[in-house]
């Protein structure tokens, strides 16, 4: 069981945004991608979830080429928590989370008690159950983000991709989401997170890729790849990196 990306390339017009990207997602492991703005991180999520088709390269889900799997079937195995974009006004939290059941229900079947139970669980676990009947346009950025996480959980995926999910969250929920993802990984979920905060990334991920202008410039165990020289190089900024209990701590110099 694994999700494999081999030599992916992608460009918007002539602007190359992803070059020779390789990745393997396996159950129980949290992989992370970090990198400055414009490094191509979000494009990776779009390629892996088949929103965009790569110009070249291959994608395999459990040894099956991704483009040979129907979208509905893919959505049963792979869920994306998008960057806290806009949600359609007037739908309630509960209705949005229930949309996560679509891959299992199809487009015609009515939802059953099981679907209600699964969505309720997803909402309880993301602390969104209390405001389940509120329209989503009245929520804060962080609340919306947790609703999107609940929807992804309602999909009961084997692979979970989080696109800068922690951006809109305060420190408490950032850590909660990441420890939550850790729990899910222990239960066998394969996770890919895109993160902005390097310190969070080195703590949360088992495997880290550092991207710059569409290229992976370093990949491996967070403690091994994050060095002062590399961060300075990629982010064009001065940092100190020191270790605490073998985990690197990145301290920007202001």
């Amino acid at each position: 069981m694994s999700f494999i990306a081999k030599n992916l390339n992608f460009a918007y017009g002539k602007k190359v945004v992803v070059r020779d990207f390789n990745l393997e997602l396996t159950p129980g492991r949290i992989s992370g991608i970090v990198g400055p703005n414009g490094a191509g991180k979000s494009t990776i999520i779009k390629l892996l979830s088949r929103v965009l088709a790569p110009l070249s390269g291959e994608l395999y889900l459990d040894d099956k080429p991704l483009h040979r799997i129907s979208r509905l079937k893919l959505a049963r195995q792979l869920a994306v928590v998008p960057q806290g974009g806009d949600l359609p006004a007037a739908f309630s939290v509960q209705e949005i989370v229930m949309m996560g059941r679509t891959p299992h229900l199809g487009f015609l079947t009515a939802e059953t008690k099981t679907d209600h139970d699964i969505t309720e669980q997803a909402m309880r676990r993301t602390d969104t159950w209390v405001f389940r009947s509120r329209p989503v346009d009245t929520l804060s950025g962080g609340e919306r983000q947790r609703v999107l996480l609940a929807r992804a959980l309602a999909q009961e995926p084997e692979y979970l991709l989080l696109d800068e999910t922690t951006n809109h969250l305060d420190l408490k929920y950032q850590l909660e989401v990441l420890s939550f993802v850790r729990q899910e990984a222990r239960r066998g979920l394969a996770v890919l997170v895109i993160l902005h905060d390097l310190n969070l990334a080195v703590r949360a991920c088992d495997h880290l890729l550092l991207m710059q202008q569409g290229r992976v410039v370093a990949g491996g165990l967070p403690a091994e790849i994050i060095t002062e020289a590399l961060v300075r190089d990629v982010y064009q900024t001065k940092v100190q990196v020191f270790k605490q209990d073998d985990t690197p701590v990145i301290l920007p110099e202001i």
């Binding site: 779009k46 979830s49 088949r50 929103v51 129907s70 979208r71 509905l72 079937k73 893919l74 959505a75 049963r76 869920a79 994306v80 998008p82 974009g85 806009d86 949600l87 359609p88 006004a89 007037a90 739908f91 209705e95 949005i96 949309m99 996560g100 679509t102 891959p103 229900l105 487009f107 015609l108 209600h116 309720e120 009947s133 999909q155």
Partner: protein, 348 residues
């Protein structure tokens, strides 16, 4: 814990379908009352008796004939057309995530009108062609219009709200101009075509009902079956794809279906604007954005609205009649302006 958790959900589900049920009752009541109003007043019990007689094929007396042969076909046709246009409006608004999209503003109705005028003006002498050709040609031109509008409105990968409406207006007016040319070219048929074009149910008959019913039913069922997919579309295309919806093929399919619903309506009643805009919008304000209830509810309210508008059209300057398109435009124009002012993204 479990009981408090399940209670509000059940109440919510039960409550959901109540407005739909009430509006169906409203529709039946409005149809019965409207059947009684006209140059000869007929009471609701008499109306119901006439319908019973008609169904069992034993018409007796003048009022039976008035109801069964004249008023009922007209009212049923108005209801069908209203439901059809409202459903097309729901589908277009949902697909384009644009509350201003409607078959009239998108130019689809004008394109369909051109196709129908073409058949009426030049093929009126050949009855067979009219019966088979009218819905077909209307549909083809409606599809052609919607394709043109989408090509014109597209900017890169997006179809911005304003450019969609502008493209619709431009393509629509071109077809309206072409229709005017037909009217000039085929003078003998001009009066008839014009009367039909402005929208009227005066020539309603059971035959006309039979000719549109299949299309309206097919389109209606397909649009209602698309409800969950339409809900997903509201999340934006990217999220809809990630939740398993093949967005492109779904869009193409449903645009064709909504166009079919429009063409069917236009082929029997001419161009009646703003119904597809107003009805879904008003219903959405009242019961929320879930298409599973929004679509059927809009169909029913669209039917109610059209029956009332037609009642108004035939009784306000009786014995003469107003074209119904004028009435819906009088109500719909201000409503459109109101919507336009409420959409910040349209003004900016």
């Amino acid at each position: 814990m479990q009981t408090t958790a399940t209670l509000p959900r059940k109440r919510l589900t039960r409550w959901r379908w109540t407005p739909l049920l009430l509006s169906v009752f409203l529709l039946v009541a409005v149809m019965v009352i409207a059947s009684g109003i006209g140059s000869v007043s007929i009471t609701p019990p008499e109306v119901l008796r006439a319908v019973w007689h008609g169904l069992s094929g034993e018409l007796s007396g003048v009022s039976d004939t008035i109801i069964w042969e004249i008023r009922l076909p007209r009212i049923l046709l108005a209801a069908l057309v209203g439901a059809s246009l409202a459903l097309a409006g729901v589908a277009f608004q949902g697909l384009f995530r644009n509350p201003l999209a409607d078959p009239y503003l998108l130019g689809v109705a004008s394109g369909a009108g051109f196709g129908a005028s073409l058949v009426m003006a030049f093929a009126a002498a050949i009855p067979l062609l009219t019966i088979v050709g009218l819905p077909l040609v209307t549909f083809v031109f409606a599809l052609l219009t919607v394709t043109l509008v989408m090509i014109l409105a597209r900017q890169g990968h997006k179809v911005p709200m304003v450019s969609l409406i502008l493209a619709g207006v431009v393509v629509g007016s071109s077809f309206t101009a072409a229709t005017s040319f037909i009217l000039l070219a085929a003078r003998e048929q001009a009066a008839g075509v014009l009367a039909w074009l402005l929208g009227s149910f005066a020539l309603a008959s059971w035959a006309k009902i039979a000719s549109v019913l299949p299309f309206v039913l097919i389109a209606g069922v397909l649009i209602m079956l698309s409800s969950r997919a339409l809900n997903l579309i509201q999340l934006g295309e990217e999220q809809a794809l990630q939740l398993g919806l093949p967005v492109e093929s779904f869009k193409l399919g449903l645009i064709s279906v909504a166009t079919l619903a429009t063409a069917a309506a236009v082929s029997v009643s001419g161009i009646i604007g703003f119904v597809g805009l107003m009805v879904p919008h008003a219903v959405r304000l009242a019961i929320g954005p879930d298409h599973r209830i929004l679509s059927p509810m809009s169909a029913v309210i669209g039917a109610v609205f059209m029956v009332l508008a037609d009642l108004f059209a035939r009784s306000i300057i009786s014995p003469a009649e107003l074209p119904i398109g004028i009435i819906t435009a009088l109500v719909g124009g201000p409503f459109f302006l109101y919507l336009l002012r409420r959409q910040p993204q349209v003004r900016s």
